[in-house]
């Protein structure tokens, strides 16, 4: 079976042709880097996606979060459900682990409380 994929690894968006036989990838072409080949292989066997969304804080505001690893594509909506049913206490700083082990990934804050410049100062990260 032949499949044509658009690579989502980088903005180039290479068109990749994959040849699959008996559930195994036997040929990959059209990619311009090794990461593209890896993406194509995963996409045919067990597709994964990074989820980026927001999480509600105790004061009602929202903070951006992401899965620190891509999770199985068919678990994306379940992952959203878990995040949307969680409320977190403030303060939050970029890099904080918010929820541990959601489909093999941690939910990590990518921003902080917006009104203090992402909390960089308090964080002492500069």
């Amino acid at each position: 079976m032949k499949r044509n994929l658009t690579c989502i690894v980088c903005p180039m968006g290479c068109s990749i042709d994959v040849n699959i036989e008996n559930g195994e990838v036997i040929d990959i072409s059209g990619n311009s880097c090794p990461r593209g080949a890896e993406y194509a292989k995963n996409e045919c066997i067990s597709p994964v996606r990074t989820v980026t969304t927001t999480i509600r804080c105790s004061d009602g505001s929202v903070i951006p979060v992401k899965t620190d690893m891509p999770i199985p594509k068919d678990k994306v909506f379940e992952c959203m459900k878990i995040i949307n049913h969680t409320s977190i206490p403030l303060p939050v700083y970029p890099g904080d682990v918010i929820i541990k082990d959601v489909f093999g990934s941690n939910i990590v804050a990518t921003g902080g409380t917006y009104n203090d410049n992402c909390g960089c100062k308090k964080q002492g990260r500069f």
Binding site: T6, I8, G13, T52, V62, K66, P94, T110, G111
Partner: protein
Amino acid sequence: MTELVIIGGGPAGMSAAVAAYERGIRDILILERDSSLGGILQQCIHNGFGLHKFGEELTGPEYALKYINMVFKRHIRYKLNTMVLDITNNKVITATNETDGIFKIEAKAVILAMGCRERPKGALNIAGTRPSGIYTAGTAQKFVNMKGYMPGKNVVILGSGDIGLIMARRMTLEGAKVHAVCELMPYSGGLPRNIEQCLNDFNIPLKLSHTVTKIHGKERLEGVTIARVDESRNPIPETEEYISCDTLLLSVGLIPENELSKTAKVELSHITSGAVVDQDRQTNAEGIFACGNVLHVHDLVDFVSEEAEIAGKSAAEYINGTLKKTVNIPIKTDGKVRYSVPQMITREKDITVYFRVADVFHNVKINVKNENGELVFSKRRTKAVPGEMESITIKEDKIKNAKELYIELEE
């Protein structure tokens, strides 16, 4: 007197500030309208930023944080919640904020880094009523990602720019139903990866050569009529189709925000809506530089940061008195190439020219000729599309003795 004033604390402004600092300038002031540095990156919570610049995949706030930390580390001064009202041709800036009132700053050099804004619905001429529920994609993005409000449940998106595609996925993830993304052109203006991961992943139909012809609803949007368009982009009435929805998002282009450039009498290009600049990103107003999306709309923030480095470095040279113009070579384009940045060369050195093509082209040659029609540069491309900025580097010896340069597309 302040040596360098930067208007805008987004990715362009911060990168320019850091670059100028690295060239020895210490007296720098960034003026930012919003309540934090980072600009529009703060609401772009999706990933895909920074691969080019940092070699890792970052979300918008994470990319912004990298530059915020660089600004902090260098103790570069900035004023938040500060609106610049006017810039004169001789670099006197009038600005206002709650603590300082209205104040003036004289600057040795100014970098314009105000970014761009979205084309609003008023610019679109869609027939029908004007109910609530119609937003630009970026406004909806701010509501969802920063304020935590969902603008609606049943969504139609007009325009397939990247923000529109990203919002199609974002609204879907938050439980809304996105019924269609309509694109007037026969191709999408967004990145292929975004069509794949934002639309195809969720089976959201992308309707190419389609537009919204009518808006329905009195208080709140109740639906839209969409139709296919012919080759001259006129709607075909018999293809009209009604879609019930409560929200219409517009992702129909970005316009560089150049009101301040006009007050400074900076010459603007009618194609890019940004300033006309040379290779140093200096405008026709001496000591006023421009970079980022206020100059021309970029595809990637990584390229914005790179361009801003050029502007920051050049502004530092200008302040130190080492920026000398030696030649004046305009760069012209043939129409198939819509525009170039820079639009002129004023120093003989290797020059990287960025440009966009006007249509989708396959197997083309990008040729650069001088005023005598002699070929000074040629490069083959298998595909060139309007959504992707192209760049070429012309060597110094090829520029020598040229009076004009023409960029052409040979099919």
